[in-house]
Every structure is written in structure tokens, then in C-alpha cells.
């Protein structure tokens, strides 16, 4: 326990205070060859394990032989290490990955990065899905994050369990007959009647998260005002409470518990992003062939996904930008899908053989037929830097209602008051 606190302080406050001396020295970047005005001898690239296809990165090193491209896979808390290094202003990577959950807070400090539009990114915009492009841009139109992968959501369900319960089981039929949350919940009630052990949805918290993602507004608006107590959130909240009341949400399963429940056929459905397919395959291999993917009721949302950015310290922005666009071209994104299950942010990739094949885990279904259209139709949302912090109380209270039977109205009141307090602290009006 003593140790963990020390490590905490070292990786956190300490490395902020003394960055460049401590952890950052081991990060592979070298500041000694710093050159300004282009023609840098060396460019460093930071990403996390699985954040880019290692094969594509290795090819990029060969492709751009005019410089020494030094890729480093950074373990542990990626954002923390990046922030610490950027504050140290030494050994800052020229090109760096940014995870989807951190992009909002990075956009707030856009002057620490290069506006990619100044390097000609705006000409490439049409090749990438629009909402994702917006997600990497500041409100005044600077592009900071160049899209790596995205996480369009869909309904993952058990074909055999749906069939047994007399529900439509073919992906196309599921898509049309359960296109709204209400019809989906009705199906859940039917399923439970036929098979009392099975639940059509696995998590109230997950359901809420995806429902919020289906809208165009989140918890804070562009003028930095708290709007979490308004109808768009209350609507999602009420729907989750309704589903919970119908008894169609499974008890809370975590980690190995979830996999065990899924293997035993207790989970007939879940809503998740495209990358969730990999977790499912690894976790419940035994149920291979029984799962299918259908469009998510109420339309698609996005969960996860990431970006590449050029830091202000980048030694050769022109070349670095070339590398970024090469790494994330439609062809290479298709390879990234095969190698690292990164769902492409380039719509051209969706027609490539790497994505159009049938997936045996999903009974040879061509899942791109679901994820492709979903990817293009994700609503554009504004995510404020404090959004995750302000959303937390709502999720916490949903869990209280779900797992402990807390009164839903009390839970809502508590969530709003707690969220307002956090919003105030974070400088949201």
C-alpha cells in the first residue's frame, strides 16, 4: 500500500514537477537532434499497445526513410505520461496518440498542438466520417486529433436464444422489428417469459451510456453551461429506469462474471461498439457461431476510438503530417482492422475485402453491413472537457437503482445535485 502511493505520487505530481528528469528519460525520444524549420533527422511517435497496427507502423518506418521514425509503445496510463512529458517540454513526442476519452480535455489546450488544417488536413476531411472529424476539432475549427479508429455501436445478440423465445432472429428482421427501445424492451419481456434465466440486456449503466450517445447533446453545452438536468438526459434516464422495472436487465456482472454468465446463456444481448466483438470472441469462445449483430435500437452511438496529433514541439510538421496521413489512409486502416481490430474511420475502407468478409463467430454474418452504416450515421455531439466528470454521478446513481433498488426519483435528484456540484468545481456555469 505504501508502494502504490509512492508510485502514484511519482507518476503524477512528481513527474509533472520534475518531468524530463524522471520517467520521461526512459521514453525513447531524444531531444539532442532537435532541428527547427523541417528536415528533422528523427521523429518520434507515441502510441499505446493496440493503438495502431504494429505492422503498419513498421512499414511506415521503412516508407519514410528520409527521417528516422522512432515509434514507441507506451504502457501504463498513456494520457498521464503524455501530459507529464508535455509539461516537461523535453522529449515531447513529435506525433502522439490521444485516446477518445481524453480528446475533449486536450482540445481545451489546443495551443499545445499543431492545427492540422494548416498542413492541409481540410482537403482530406471528406474521406473520414464527419462526426469523428468534428470530435477532433476545436469549436473554432482547428483540427487537433486526426481520426484513427472509431467505435460505432450495435446490438450484439444470441441468435439461438432469440429463436427459442419465438423472437425474430435474423439480423435484418431484428433490425426492423426492434428499431426503437420500446420494441426492444417488449422483446426483452417476451424473452424472459420464455426463458426466465436470460436477459436481453446486460447492464443498466451501459444502456444509459449508449442512449446518451445517441443524442446530439451531452451534459454540458458549447457555452459551457450544465444541461445534464434537461429532457435529453432525463429521457435516457427514464428509459433505463423503465427497462430496469421490466426486469429485463441482467444483474451486475463484472469481468470474469460477465463471461461466465454469457457462456451459460444468461445474456441474450448487449449493446456495444465494434471493438467489443474482439472482447466477446476472447471471453466466450465457446458460444462461437451463436452471436449476431443488428443495428442498435434507436440508432447508432460511438464508444471509444482514438486520434493522432502533432505536438507543438514537433520537429518537422510537414513530414510528420505525411506520416500521419499515410498511417491512417483507407488502405492502412483496413489493415489495422485485420491486425488490431481498429474499426476504420475512413468510409472507403468499408468496401475493402478486409472488412467485407463473413465472420464465423457471428455465424458468417458480414458485420460491416451493420457497422458501416452505423459509422456514417453517428450523431455529432459536443463533448466538454468536464463532461466525463459531470456524467459520473448519473452513472453512479443508475447503478444504485439497478443493483440496490434505490428509489429512482431520489436517485435522479441526488445525481443532479451531485453533478451540479462537480460542474461548479470544474468551472461550468
Amino acid at each position: 500500500m505504501e508502494l502504490s502511493r509512492r508510485r502514484l505520487i511519482q507518476s503524477g505530481l512528481l513527474s509533472i514537477a520534475a518531468a524530463g528528469i524522471g520517467s520521461t528519460a526512459a521514453c525513447g525520444g531524444s531531444g539532442s537532434t532537435a532541428a527547427s524549420g523541417g528536415g528533422a533527422k528523427e521523429l518520434t511517435l507515441w502510441y499505446w499497445g493496440g493503438g495502431l497496427s504494429d505492422k503498419v507502423v513498421a512499414d511506415a518506418v521503412k516508407q519514410f526513410s528520409q527521417t528516422t521514425l522512432k515509434p514507441s509503445v507506451i504502457g501504463g496510463d498513456f494520457k498521464q505520461k503524455l501530459v507529464a512529458t508535455m509539461n516537461g517540454r523535453k522529449f515531447v513526442p513529435d506525433i502522439t496518440g490521444i485516446k477518445g476519452e481524453n480528446i475533449a480535455s486536450m482540445l481545451a489546450e489546443s495551443d499545445r498542438f499543431i492545427d492540422l488544417n494548416t498542413l492541409g488536413a481540410d482537403k482530406l476531411a471528406s474521406q473520414y466520417v464527419e462526426w469523428k472529424w468534428k470530435q477532433g476539432s476545436t469549436t473554432d475549427g482547428k483540427l487537433i486529433g486526426f481520426p484513427i479508429d472509431i467505435g460505432p455501436t450495435a446490438l450484439f445478440y444470441r441468435n439461438d436464444l432469440f429463436e427459442k423465445a419465438g423472437l425474430p432472429a435474423d439480423p435484418a428482421e431484428v433490425g426492423t422489428s426492434m428499431s426503437t427501445w420500446d420494441t426492444f424492451f417488449e422483446a426483452g419481456v417476451k424473452l424472459k417469459k420464455a426463458n426466465p434465466d436470460a436477459f436481453i440486456i446486460d447492464s443498466a449503466e451501459g444502456l444509459f451510456d449508449k442512449m446518451v450517445g445517441q443524442g446530439t447533446k451531452r451534459f454540458i453545452d458549447e457555452s459551457n453551461k450544465f444541461i445534464g438536468d434537461q429532457d435529453h438526459i432525463r429521457g435516457a434516464w427514464d428509459m433505463v429506469i423503465k427497462a430496469n422495472g421490466l426486469g429485463i436487465i441482467a444483474p451486475k456482472y463484472d469481468g470474469p462474471d460477465w463471461n461466465a454468465a454469457a457462456a451459460q446463456g444468461k445474456l441474450a444481448g448487449t449493446v456495444g461498439a465494434a471493438w467489443f466483438a474482439l472482447d466477446l470472441k476472447n471471453g466466450v469462445e465457446a458460444t462461437s457461431g451463436k452471436w449476431r449483430v443488428a443495428p442498435m435500437p434507436g440508432g447508432p452511438a460511438n464508444i471509444g476510438g482514438s486520434f493522432l496529433a502533432l505536438t507543438r514541439e514537433c520537429r518537422d510538421p510537414q513530414l510528420a503530417f505525411q506520416i500521419v496521413t499515410w498511417l491512417l489512409s483507407a488502405d492502412n486502416q483496413a489493415r489495422g482492422f485485420t491486425d488490431a481490430a481498429l474499426f476504420p474511420s475512413t468510409s472507403a475502407s468499408y468496401d475493402m475485402p478486409a472488412l467485407t468478409g463473413g465472420d464465423p463467430f457471428f455465424g458468417d454474418q458480414k458485420t460491416i453491413e451493420v457497422f458501416g452504416p452505423a459509422a456514417k450515421n453517428i450523431p455529432i455531439q459536443y463533448e466538454a472537457p468536464a463532461d466525463a466528470a459531470v456524467a459520473q454521478p448519473f452513472k453512479d446513481e443508475i447503478i444504485n437503482v439497478w443493483t440496490k433498488g434505490k428509489n429512482a426519483d431520489t436517485a435522479w435528484t441526488d445525481a443532479v445535485s451531485s453533478a451540479k456540484q462537480i460542474a461548479g468545481r470544474q468551472g461550468v456555469s
Binding site: 509533472i16 514537477a17 476519452e101 444483474p251
Partner: protein, 333 residues
């Protein structure tokens, strides 16, 4: 003494320097002495300096920086904004902080009391065992050196509600399964169990050292006077161990107040966007976990620093209280 006063009177040098010269020796060497002391002792100073240098760079500077940070609002990358005591004012009104502090204390109580009791029992057993004592000592100490993260993941699956080992046994005994990682009290029990498992052996080894320092004549004399094993334990062992118990109570107070890894791993495995919530109802949200969440997940470093300092004050107070309680009982007897 007279040499010292005369030296001060004649040169007017400040106290410490004259004190150094006051140990006798020719008055003429007076001015050279302090420098000479450095010349004579420099290998010692140099040999202890790595600790102080590392301590200054890696502990003292960050600690002071965090105090500076506690009076600022800072998102980690942008400009720091001085806000005065605002962070501390907000902290006082922050229910979540008080809950986190309460959780921490409850987990401390629930882990430390059984842990120290078990450690005493184990130490007694080790003290009386004749064979394989070396093996047992190592065996009991091993949990303390295993990775907390690995142990927590293991406990997490043992206590998992529907498919965990504990509930499987309960069901086999035809009892109903307990939702260990959902209920606010069982969450604390699981975290306490992990801490107990990890630290019982450590404390037992310390107690064992204390036990072996008790002279056997005392036991023999008591036995001759007709004392039974229970009396021996409560009249001799416990009073003689008091200073050691005091030490373990203080150490486990400081450790227990900093519980972080267990709830972080237990409830952060597969929820990337809700990683540091401390589980349903925030029942496992300890003070340090809350600090981590506010600073590193919510990018509010100033507020995080304020939490860290508030926790520091709480640890200080609580350690002082524990110290007094255990010591008073010692004086009372």
C-alpha cells in the same frame, strides 16, 4: 565550560561555532575549525547524501509542489490559476469526499482489528512451534511481497457474485449466494479481506520478534505461581508486547488510510469510463482513490492536491489518536 565562555567573549562568534571550538584546543585554531570539521567528516556527508538528494528531488519537491497546487485550479496542461483556499472550501461541502473518508475509516477498522488479532495468534503459534519455523515464517510473509494487483484480481474472481468460489461454496451448503461486489458492506468486507490477507503475516513476523524478546523466566515464574495459558497470554504476553502493538497500529493506520490499489483494481477491470468509482454506491471509494479520480481522471489537479492534503491531516490526527489510546492503556496497567 570556562573555555567556551571565554572564547565567546573574546571573538563574539555565534553560539554553534563557538560550541564547536569549545572542546579544547589552541585558541588560535578557532577560525579554521568549522571548515576543518567539514574536511574531516566529508566522506560521511557524501555517503549519506544520495538519500537526501533523492528525497529532495523525488519526495520533498513534489510534496511542496502539491501544496502549491492545492491553491490553484489546473487542468494539467494549461495555465495555473490561483484560487486561494477555494479548493479546500469546496472540499468541505463535498459529500463525496466525506463519504470517501468514511469508507476509508470503515475499511481500516474492518481490516486492522482482525488483522492484528490474527497476527498475534499466528505469532504465538510460530513462537511455540518447534519444527519448520523458518518455513512457516517465510510462508506467512509471502503474501506481503506478492503483487497487490494480482491478489486483488484473484480475490475479485473468488468473490464474484454469480460464479465465484465463495458463492459456489455457499450454494453447496444450500445457502443463498451473496452479491459480494454490489452491496455496500460486503464491498468493504472484500477489500478488508484482501488487506488482511496481505498484512497479517507481516505483522505476525514483527510480533514474533517481540515475543522472542520476552524473557522465558517471566513465564516460568508465572507458571510456578499457578497461571494458566490464558492468564499467561493476557498478563504477560500482551503487556510485554505493548510497544510492538503500538508500532503495528501506527503503521497500519498510515497504510490503511492510503488504501488505493484494492478498490481501484476491483472495480476498474472492465469499465474504462467509470474506472475509479469505487463500485456500486461508491462503497469502495477510498480517500486516495477519490484523489486519484479527481486529479487524473477528471483533470482537476488542484482539487486533487487539496484532497491529498486533507487526507494527510486526517492521517496525522488519526495516528495521534491511535497513539494516545494505545499508550494510555499501557500507562493504565
Amino acid at each position: 565550560m570556562s573555555a567556551r565562555t571565554s572564547a565567546r567573549a573574546s571573538t563574539g562568534m555565534p553560539g554553534p561555532a563557538t560550541a564547536a571550538t569549545g572542546r579544547g584546543g589552541p585558541p588560535g585554531a578557532r577560525h579554521a575549525r568549522p571548515k576543518g570539521a567539514w574536511r574531516r567528516y566529508w566522506p560521511q556527508y557524501v555517503s549519506i547524501s544520495p538519500f537526501f538528494l533523492l528525497f529532495t528531488v523525488f519526495m520533498l519537491v513534489p510534496v511542496l509542489f502539491s501544496l502549491y497546487l492545492a491553491f490553484h485550479k489546473w487542468n494539467g496542461l494549461g495555465e495555473m490559476e490561483f484560487v486561494g483556499p477555494r479548493n479546500f472550501e469546496l472540499l468541505m461541502q463535498d459529500e463525496m469526499f466525506w463519504q470517501a473518508l468514511q469508507n476509508t475509516f470503515l475499511i481500516w477498522f474492518m481490516s486492522t482489528i482482525p488483522m492484528l488479532f490474527l497476527a498475534l495468534v499466528v505469532a504465538n503459534m510460530l513462537n511455540s512451534a518447534v519444527r519448520f519455523t523458518g518455513f512457516y515464517r517465510i510462508a506467512y510473509f509471502v503474501p506481503n511481497v506478492t503483487s497487490v494487483v494480482a491478489v486483488t484480481i484473484f480475490f475479485g474472481s473468488v468473490f464474484s457474485t454469480n460464479f465465484g468460489l465463495i458463492n459456489a461454496i455457499l450454494q453447496w451448503l444450500s445457502a443463498s449466494p451473496v452479491p459480494w461486489l454490489v452491496n455496500e458492506w460486503t464491498i468493504k468486507i472484500v477489500i478488508s479481506a484482501i488487506i488482511c490477507w496481505q498484512w497479517t503475516g507481516y505483522n505476525a513476523i514483527i510480533y514474533l520478534a517481540g515475543l522472542q524478546a520476552i524473557p522465558s523466566e517471566m513465564y516460568e515464574a508465572a507458571r510456578i505461581d499457578g497461571a494458566g495459558p490464558v492468564q499467561l497470554f493476557f498478563r504477560i504476553t500482551i503487556p510485554m508486547l505493548r510497544p510492538i502493538i503500538l508500532f503495528t497500529v501506527v503503521v497500519s493506520t498510515i497504510n490503511g488510510m492510503q488504501t488505493f490499489t484494492e478498490p481501484q483494481v476491483l472495480f476498474g477491470i472492465n469499465s474504462a469510463n467509470n474506472a475509479s468509482s469505487g463500485g456500486p454506491g461508491g462503497a469502495g471509494l477510498t480517500a486516495i482513490l477519490y484523489f486519484y479520480r479527481e486529479a487524473f481522471n477528471n483533470n482537476d489537479y488542484g482539487y486533487g492536491a487539496a484532497i491529498a492534503w486533507a487526507v494527510f491531516v486526517a492521517i496525522l490526527l488519526f495516528t495521534a489518536i491511535n497513539w494516545r489510546i494505545v499508550q494510555r492503556r499501557e500507562r493504565g496497567l
